[in-house]
C-alpha cells in the first residue's frame, strides 16, 4: 500500500506544519488586523502550502473537495486513506 510509505507521512507532516502556522496567524490577525509583518508571513505561507499540496496530490490523489483541487482520471477524492485511518 503506497499510502503508508514513509514519504507519505513526511509530506503530510510538512503540510500540517505549514497549515498549522496559517491557522495560528489567521486567528492572530483576526485581532491584530494591522500587523503587516504577520500578514507578509501569512501570504508567504499560503504560497508554500499551495505548492506542497499540489505536489502531495500529484502523488497521493486529491486532498481537497468541492473544486478546491483539480481531479485526475480516475476520480481519486473518495479513495482511502481518510485522515482518521492513517
Amino acid at each position: 500500500m503506497k499510502e503508508s510509505t514513509a514519504k507519505y507521512y513526511e509530506l503530510l507532516h510538512e503540510i500540517q506544519q505549514v497549515d498549522f502556522a496559517l491557522v495560528e496567524l489567521n486567528l492572530y490577525l483576526n485581532t491584530h488586523p494591522m500587523d503587516q509583518q504577520a500578514i507578509m508571513q501569512f501570504n508567504e505561507l499560503v504560497q508554500r502550502s499551495q505548492m506542497l499540496k499540489k505536489n502531495f496530490e500529484s502523488m497521493y490523489g486529491t486532498m481537497r473537495n468541492f473544486g478546491e483541487s483539480f481531479s485526475p482520471t480516475p476520480w481519486s477524492w473518495s479513495n482511502t486513506p481518510w485522515p482518521w485511518q492513517v
Partner: protein
C-alpha cells in the same frame, strides 16, 4: 517569568479516611498574564517546532505534565 503551576497545602483533618495528599496544584497558563498580545513576539525557530508545541509563540506555550507522576508537584 510567571510560573504556570501553583501549589498549596490543604488542611489535613485528623479523621480523614485516606492518606493525605500534602500538596495540591493547579495551572495558571500564560494567557492569564499576557493581556493583548504585543506585535512581533518571538516565534519558535521553525514550523516543525511550532506545530509540536501547538503555538507559534513560546510566550504562549505552557508545558503540562501529570502532577501525580513522580517528580510532579
Amino acid at each position: 517569568m510567571n510560573t504556570f503551576r501553583k501549589t498549596y497545602k490543604p488542611f489535613i483533618g485528623p479523621f480523614d479516611p485516606c492518606p493525605p495528599m500534602k500538596v495540591k496544584s493547579y495551572e495558571t497558563p500564560p494567557q492569564l498574564y499576557m493581556g493583548f498580545q504585543p506585535y512581533n513576539l518571538p516565534q519558535f525557530p521553525n514550523l516543525q517546532t511550532a506545530l509540536k508545541h501547538g503555538t507559534l509563540w513560546p510566550a504562549l506555550f505552557a508545558p503540562y505534565e501529570n502532577p501525580y507522576r513522580k517528580g510532579g508537584a
